[in-house]
């Protein structure tokens, strides 16, 4: 049984922890809203781009003879993994889930995988597990902009075109809801043209319907790098939103737990205090009785 003084100290320490976690929770909650807004604002652009590329690729691309190197499936076995994670922790299981998913991917791949890390947590994980990290991008901030993603996209595309990688995958947390973030790994390069379901009946006539300037091939050649960039940008935004949400939830749980412990400790403390007072009273009464007697 702890002494009264120890209990008091313990209660104070738990309360201080609760203050910190509560503050972090509030900060994460407000940042989360903005991060989610930004993820939503990117959607009109990405949907439009997807629809255009889907239609254009279906119309101009002959699977036997792809129209653009970014669409060409190659035989080689140099695999790259663009691993996107938060920079910081205190966000529950988010980082370990992401790293486990990416780690399994690397471990089960038939070919050796080189990692391009975006975010410190993923970089540290792969450096620790002695996987080759060829490039790293950290400190993108709470609200990463499209300009910060451009160098990442340029590196990935250049390496792919130069034959450093024959396939590139992207790993990031898919933002499902505030409570749920799911680690996803998808192929980034070569581009698998998106199939636009809603325009499926119009696909065959897509290219004939439009006037292209300068030419369909030229438009496609300019659209495809944008498409890669946009996919990375979306992943980075979802990563930011996921991080803030996960941190908010983790910190809310921590605050709740701290409050619960404070409640229990206070109860024990009061009981111990009560007991001691009773004991002291008995001593006084006993002493007085002895004097009288």
């Amino acid at each position: 049984m702890a002494t009264i003084r120890q209990l008091r100290r313990r209660i104070q320490s738990v309360k201080n922890t609760a203050k910190i976690t509560n503050a972090l929770q509030l900060v994460a909650a407000s940042k989360m809203r903005r991060a989610q807004d930004r993820a939503l604002q990117a959607r009109p652009y990405s949907e439009k781009l997807r629809a255009v590329i889907g239609g254009l690729a279906a119309a101009t691309v002959d699977p036997e003879k792809p129209a653009h190197p970014l669409l060409t499936v190659r035989e080689g076995n140099n695999v790259g993994l663009l691993h996107i994670t938060p920079d910081r922790g205190l966000c529950g299981g988010l980082n370990s889930n992401l790293n486990r998913s990416a780690g399994t991917f690397v471990a089960t791949s038939r070919n050796p995988v080189d990692v391009i890390a975006v975010g410190k947590k993923g970089r540290d994980f792969f450096v620790r597990s002695r996987v080759n990290v060829v490039a790293e991008f950290t400190d993108l901030g709470d609200y990463p902009g499209a300009a910060q993603v451009a160098p990442i996209a340029r590196l990935v595309i250049d390496d792919y075109l130069a034959g450093v990688f024959d396939r590139v995958y992207i790993s990031y947390p898919e933002f499902v809801s505030t409570a749920t973030q799911r680690p996803v790994i998808r192929q980034l390069l070569p581009i698998e043209p998106p199939t636009s379901e809603d325009e499926s009946q119009g696909e065959s006539t897509f290219a004939q319907d439009y006037i292209f300037e300068p030419s369909p091939e030229e438009v496609l050649a300019q659209l495809l790098p944008r498409y890669v960039e946009m996919q990375i940008y979306e992943a980075v935004l979802q990563n930011a939103a996921s991080f803030q949400s996960a941190q908010m939830v983790a910190m809310k749980n921590a605050t709740d737990n701290a409050n619960e412990i404070t409640r229990e400790l206070t109860l024990t403390y009061n009981k111990a205090r009560q007991e001691q007072i009773t004991k002291e009273l008995l001593d006084i009464v006993g002493g007085a009785a002895a004097l009288e007697g």
């Binding site: 009109p44 990405s46 255009v52 439009y210 006037i211 300037e213 030229e218 438009v219």
Partner: protein, 147 residues
């Protein structure tokens, strides 16, 4: 039927405008004006000024490149970066111009082989474009009284 214009970047929706009479954009094959009933068109855009004309009024935007699609009087512009003329941060554009000029100068003097000349020139072009569009707008709004 007038045009509906959507100006979108990866980061945000810059403007959605309905009832547009005409749209002037910097197309890949030169300046391009789009009026209602334009044929379906898909083109790449060069860095330049885009003007939306509506009810006798003009509004200018900067577009640093991208794509434009016209279909059924609906125009979608997927811009790499874009802002309305009054949103342009002149101080930031000046700073960008100074930086780009510095990079080009270093390249010319062979002092720094790491400078990517093409990128520096593109950055300079964007900065000058922003300054030009912002300047034109200032003159238009303060120079003579609006009719």
């Amino acid at each position: 039927m007038p045009l509906t214009v959507e100006l979108i970047t990866a980061e945000r929706v810059v403007r959605v405008e309905q009832g547009v009479d005409a749209l002037i954009v910097p197309g890949a094959e030169g300046q391009l004006a789009i009026y209602p009933k334009h044929a379906a068109l898909m083109t790449t855009l060069e860095p330049g000024e885009m003007v939306i004309r509506r009810a006798g009024q003009e509004e200018a935007f900067v577009v640093t490149g991208g794509f434009l699609e016209v279909r059924n009087d609906h125009v979608t512009i997927l811009a790499d970066a874009s802002e309305a003329a009054e949103e342009i941060d002149i101080a930031r554009a000046e700073e960008a111009r100074r930086r780009a000029e510095e990079r080009i100068r270093r390249f010319r003097e062979q002092a720094d082989r790491d400078v990517d000349l093409a990128r520096a020139q593109a950055a300079l072009q964007r900065a000058l474009l922003r300054l030009r569009v912002a300047e034109q707008r200032r003159r238009r709004t303060t120079g003579r009284p609006q009719v």
